[in-house]
Symmetry: C2
Subunit: 164 residues, 2 copies
DNA sequence: CACATGTCAGTGTTACTGACATAA
DNA sequence: CTTATGTCAGTATCACTGACATGT
């Protein structure tokens, strides 16, 4: 069986037979797989009242710290690599959707504490479960040993790409 | 050695030890690798007068058809999955940058023929060569057999994801 | 006074929707 | 008249920059 990357590379090698495309065969598959998975995740998220992937990531960051699911906008911005103003906008949307709450910091009156609401926690866990299901669909054709091999090969790549 | 996906999954399994994250270990690496590669490609493109990845893809579509590197906006839009108005904007930018030219269709006076200029062709080939170099860097840690294995495993995934 | 935190207003980017001019 | 092609104007989305209010 041939996938779309096979077809695309074939078209290229007709046009440029001088090039070695073995690297492209790997990297383009990675890019294509990421695109397809992201499409599905995006569709999945959209079904859950939080349209924007960035907003969703913001909730994930809060969920990941564990009880009591609280961070300052400052900390969130650093984790998410978003400017303070950009983050402010995300928080506005998420607060309006009832996914998180802002309250004043008890001692530092400049600061704010952002916390995931009950509803926000539930949504994250729900989406997360659905995401794992989606991954299982994507990996259905690979047995456990294949998965491990794939993960190991990809780790080598990531380390080469400077993923600390 | 551990990459960022290892760290992230470890944090998650602290918080949710009930979940099986072996699928996430694979898929998140694919997503992360795609992100890192796309960052580098984006940086590479930006150095070449065509800032926007979509504009670049438009040029690639023209390059790929081979001599004389011509398509109609209609055909381009279908290939690139962009609306006609959206494509029109891309063509405006690329034409202004001297990368392509529009001329009237000889018989159909509604239609237009878009062609890659000499400069556009050179730019595509240059960027393409640099992209292949970039892929080599990403794959430096994998020998030829590993690459083949990786490509094969990813093909299985893509076919499962419905990549025709 | 210098620095930190968070928000707001205005801007830039890019593609979309819907309307339109022209032609087949 | 219906359909096709391409363009234009206006809109939406989202984050950024820079300015600002407040507080340490």
């Amino acid at each position: 069986m041939t996938d779309r990357v096979d077809s695309a590379l074939e078209a290229w090698s007709d046009e440029r037979p001088d090039l070695d495309l073995s690297g492209a065969a790997v990297v383009n598959r990675i890019r294509r797989a990421a695109t397809l998975i992201e499409e599905r995740i995006s569709a999945l998220i959209t079904r859950h009242e939080v349209r924007n992937p960035g907003d969703f990531d913001t909730m994930v960051a809060l969920r990941r710290v564990g009880e009591p699911y609280e961070l300052s906008p400052k900390q969130l911005g650093e984790q998410l690599l978003v400017t303070s103003a950009g983050l402010s906008g995300r928080l506005d949307r998420l607060e309006a959707a009832g996914m998180l709450a802002r309250r004043p910091h008890p001692f530092d009156r400049r600061a704010v504490i952002v916390s995931l609401t009950q509803r926000g926690q539930e949504l994250i866990d729900e989406v997360h479960a659905e995401t794992l299901d989606l991954y299982e669909i994507a990996l259905a054709g690979l047995e456990s040993g294949d998965r491990q091999r794939l993960a190991d090969l990809l780790r080598v790549m990531l380390l080469d790409l400077g993923d600390t």
